[in-house]
Amino acid sequence: MQPKLSVQNSHKQLLTDSESERQTIKVGKVPNENGVAKRWFRLVFRSIKAHPIPHIIGISAGNVFSLVVVGFTIVLGRVTDRVIIPGLDEGGVEGRTILGGFVAIVIVGLLRGFSVMLRRFFNFTAVEKTKQTWRLGIIDRLLDAPRAHYWSRSTGELLARVDTDVETATSVLMPLAFSVSVISLILVSLISLLIIHPLFFVVALLLFPVLALLQRFFVRAVETPARKAQALIGEVSEIAHESLDGIMVVKTIGRQQQELDRLNEKSQLLREERLKIGWHRAVFSPLLYHLPNLGILVLLMVGALLVDNGAATVGETVQSMALFMILTLPVQILGFMFQEMPRSVVAMDRIDEIFSIDTVQYAEEGKVEKPVDVIFDKVGFSYPTENEDHLEQTVLENFSEKIIEGESVALVGSTGSGKSTLVMLMSGLIEPTSGNITLGNANVSELGPDFVSSHIATVFQETFLFALSLRENLTLGENVSDPDIYSALKIASAYDFVSELPHGIETIVGERGVTLSGGQRQRIAIARALLRKPSVLVLDDSTSAVDPKVEAEILQNIKTKTNCSLLVIAHRLATIRLAERVIFIDDGKVSASGSHDELLKIDDYANLVSAYEDIKL
């Protein structure tokens, strides 16, 4: 339900005019370096605050893991000194000692395994709970957000918030416990190396910062091509989507080659950016792997010298080398976390956009008094826009009218005259920018759509049915008896085709079920509205796909079998004639009001309806 062409899209045009601008908008703001770390901390803190226990257990288990890992190298060192070397080089050891060594290693190994399990389980729990919390938060906001927020964002965008953005934002939390444990691992290792011998400590001290710097360089180097690649993937998607969506047109105008060329061009660019990333990875990965190796070799040399001097044992040398060996993977995980930071932080910003929406608060109570008249009192409405110039499109101006209880009124006006806007105002979906609308003395926009829904039922121009059974679509979860459902269907002239469906009202409609024709959908929508037993029934061009004869039937049924007031917006002369009174709306104002025949005397009106006459079916 978007407002017509002009304003909304002319602003889109301003935005899409230059290619590069378009890219920036698609990909999001580029976060500056300092901002990223700070925002990352906040992200982590929010998650911990929301679910402290799993986080704490996970991180603790991670630290136990670090201690055990270091412990493992110590055990290995001791075993080398007391079991291996004596056993093989010095003539043998007792079986008991060998068994002792074996058991020691196994125990430490088991401890290591269990601490990993705990760490992973609780970290995962913390992350999944965070995702759940944020998802719930987002949809709650969306459900209560002012209607305007739906105009400025496409369904795809909002879905991305709930799904991809939450995943991206939390991806940086996955290695959290492990990363924290890596930090403590590095600290404990450094300390134990220091204890063994200061020289080992020095080698380590030289190595780790170099590794950290390399990670940083890598992340910086791939940032730009990664962003460009991301944008290009989006463009490739768009081309593929558009091309296949309009496949029939592409075929009929023979545009296959051009479409192929379009995709080819972007795919080439994508490949180039990816290769840039591949190149950097090719440079850094071997470096990140082999530098610790060089470190180990240095340790070996240093160790040999120390053993020669009696300052260290072979076992201690083995222990140090084992530590180095173990540290390479963890450092890479740390690197991964740094890499994910910018993306996660940007995703979190997008989620916060939703969290910062001010939800609408409606009045607590209201009472609809008799007579249930709908009164429009100097109603004005202008569409909000996102442009800095604060251009607004005025759709309704000083609209004052009245629909008396039980009346049937037709609303006639040319396209863009404000009819559909009026419909949305009536049901409280949007608020008038000036004036007010009352229903039996209750202010509609103050009370909100939930309240109004029990009095006014609207059948919108575009039929929307849920991918559920017809029954559920009709009753929307309310407790309605079958006879009531059938009588509503009969009034809407839908009973016949529904009973011919394989499962009657239990038939499921939508993607996974039966596809109904346009006219059938409209009739179901009318039945759905009737089941609300409203005081006012609004039909916004809701019988356009229905046969004129059937339409007349339906309207007659409504008039005779219900006692709702009826507001009909139609483009068919026949429909207009069925109403008692016509309101002619022009340029957002009431131009005239009276019976159809009376209004025919007005030139504008007569011209408009004669155009309706020639309309094809």
Binding site: F121, Q256, Q520
Partner: protein, 608 residues
């Protein structure tokens, strides 16, 4: 009985087609690999050199354990430290390490390049193939699935290529190399290692299967959640104005909650089963140490070898662990690859002729000779249709929904070929006509007015591949569309949005008609729109159509009273056959199907 209903009531027939597209299920990994290799020649290019390089890289990782062994055996012995020996070995190892770094860079880049080439090739070839498939394959229900092949499925493969594929290659070679060295050092200890690792394989296999199923269930929950969210966004007005908000909220909460639960079930494998790899690795080290010291002297194991063995075991555990973690990603990637390959294997039904015939620029004569048509799944849509349409006349095709009239129109443009019979254009079989000529001379303006996301004038220019902007402007003049263009916000440059959504349905038709005018076809086929068009545009459309129809043969799938009334020939379709034909005054008096249709048409609309 009405032909106002815009869509055919499509039943469940398309449901099965989508399922067929999704089922990879138990297809073996090898089968996918074989087919994938066939489909992507880029994979095979220089594969032997790449393998050698990867081997050398894996070798580089073994330097440390090897050096340790040598140093401990020869350099640091009970007799004291031979410093020179230690330094000698260490420096050689360092040098080789650096060489390995450089080689590693070249290897990784080579792998990355191959991967990117394969992916790009796949994406483009799949896209091309999809465009070649006949219109029968491009059903609404499949469109999303097809787009996914070219986009997200290739992306899944990309992520796999960047990590998983490389992991497989490097890790497998590493495991092999380590095993070889181990055997060289001490085959006794190697057997011990293998024995201890043996339970790992059944465990991992068991895990992989369960994990895959759990993963699938998670994905279902995710798509469930997204459907519910998507519905509540698109149906926001209904949700709010029908008091459905609370129930929608709890539906959403449930969906998200279910997703969480399923995710927690799936993660058990990652959290509790995978660490077993670690534990087994350590058990292997313990066993090696135990056995090595106990039986070492008998087996001829030196202390250097034993310690090296410990480090080698580590080099064995890490790749096995990594492969364990990569299993799920591999399965997903294979599934995605399979789906893409399936598309490439689909038959192209409408084969274009190599040396096609040409068509003149004049109005075309059509002879339809006893054609039948049915879609791949489903019954006879057209049944022995036989008609001659002389050049230059205007034909209106009418009938109820499902009568076959739209399919008839589609066959005239060769969007599909008849299953029996043939269509002659100016005496030549439609199938023999060169595709470029056909696109120019036979033009269909479809119902839905699909436009490309660019300006109005660009869309019009698409009418013919070599059309100039001036020709597009001329077409607009010829059709008398300037008054309408001038009231658009940016005139000719107005962007029409995705699918043309910035314009109304009627306005999109105007652009489509101008596009057809640029092509100047000898045969124009018009599938009239059935959805509501605002009356102002409606009048403009009728006028435009009249002008467009001049000087060519026109076949309209009619939804306007005026189209049928004005046509030189009306064809009435019913259940796939032409049951009545002639001009309006004659048919109306026949008291047959046409007259009934006309009656309900005229119904309450006209003021008589």
């Amino acid at each position: 009985m009405t032909f106002l209903d815009g869509h055919d009531a499509i039943g469940k027939e398309f449901e099965t087609e989508t399922k067929e597209l999704e089922g990879i299920e138990e297809v073996g990994a090898l089968k996918v690999l074989k087919r994938g290799l066939r489909a992507s020649p880029e994979l095979r290019a220089g594969i032997s050199l790449t393998a050698l390089m990867a081997l050398a890289v894996a070798g580089g990782k073994l330097l440390v354990p090897l050096t340790i062994k040598e140093v401990l055996d020869r350099g640091i012995t009970t007799n004291g430290v031979n410093v020179n020996s230690v330094l000698f070995f260490s420096f050689i190892a360092m040098f080789l390490s650096i060489a390995s770094m450089a080689l590693g860079r070249a290897t990784y880049y080579r792998l990355a390049k191959t991967a990117e080439n394969v992916l790009m090739g796949l994406r483009i070839r799949t896209f091309e193939h999809l465009h070649k498939l006949s219109i029968a394959d491009h059903v609404e229900a499949r469109k999303g699935a097809y787009t996914a092949r070219v986009t997200s499925d290739v992306e899944t493969l990309t992520q796999f290529a960047q990590w998983g594929a490389i992991a497989w290659i490097i890790n497998s070679i590493q495991i092999l190399a380590v095993l070889v060295i181990m055997i060289v050092y001490s085959w006794h200890l190697s057997i011990v290692t293998l024995l201890v690792h043996a339970p790992l394989f059944p465990v991992l296999r068991w895990m992989q299967r369960r994990q895959l199923r759990a993963h699938d269930r998670v994905r279902s929950r995710v798509s469930d959640t997204l459907s519910v969210v998507s519905e509540s966004i698109q149906g926001v007005d209904v949700v709010r104005s029908y008091g459905y908000r609370q129930k929608t909220r709890s539906k959403l909460h449930h969906a998200i909650g279910d997703q969480y639960k399923e995710q927690m079930v799936a993660q058990k494998y990652f959290s509790f089963v995978l660490p077993i790899t670690d534990i087994i690795g350590v058990a292997a080290i313990a066993s090696v140490v135990g056995a090595g010291v106990y039986w070492g002297p008998d087996w001829g194991v030196t202390s250097g070898e034993l310690i090296a063995f410990v480090f080698l075991s580590n080099l064995l555990v890490m790749p096995i662990s990594e492969l364990g973690e990569v299993l799920t990603q591999t399965q997903t990637a294979l599934a995605g690859w399979w789906k893409v390959l399936e598309v490439l294997d689909k038959d192209i039904e409408v084969k274009e002729p190599d040396q096609g015939l040409t068509l003149p620029d004049t109005p075309l004569d059509i002879k339809v000779e006893a054609i039948d048509f049915s879609y791949r799944t489903g019954g006879l849509v057209l049944d022995n249709v036989d008609i001659h349409i002389p050049a230059g006349i205007s034909v209106a095709v009418v009938g109820e929904t499902g009568s076959g009239k739209t399919t008839f129109a589609k066959l005239l443009t060769r969007l599909a070929d008849p299953t029996n019979g043939r269509i002659l254009i100016n005496g030549e079989d439609l199938r023999e006509i060169d595709s470029d000529h056909r696109h120019k001379s036979i033009r269909m303006v479809p119902q839905d007015g699909f436009l490309f996301d660019t300006s109005v004038i660009e869309n019009v220019r698409f009418g013919r591949n070599d059309a100039q902007r001036s020709e597009a402007e001329e077409a607009i003049s010829d059709l008398g569309l300037w008054p309408w263009i001038n009231q658009l916000p940016e005139g000719l440059e107005t962007r029409v949005g995705e699918r043309g959504e910035a314009l109304s349905v009627g306005e999109r038709q105007l652009v489509a008609l101008a596009r057809a005018q640029v092509a100047n076809p000898g045969l124009l086929i018009l599938d009239e729109a059935t959805s509501a068009i605002d009356p102002e545009t409606e009048q403009m459309l009728e006028a435009t159509l009249e002008r467009l129809a001049q000087g060519r043969t026109t076949v309209s799938v009619a939804h306007r009273i005026s189209t049928a009334e004005r046509a030189d020939l009306i064809l009435v379709f019913d259940k796939g056959k032409i049951v009545e034909k002639g001009k309006h005054p004659n048919l109306v008096n026949l008291d047959g199907i046409y007259s009934k249709l006309y009656e309900s048409w005229i119904g309450n609309t006209r003021e008589v």
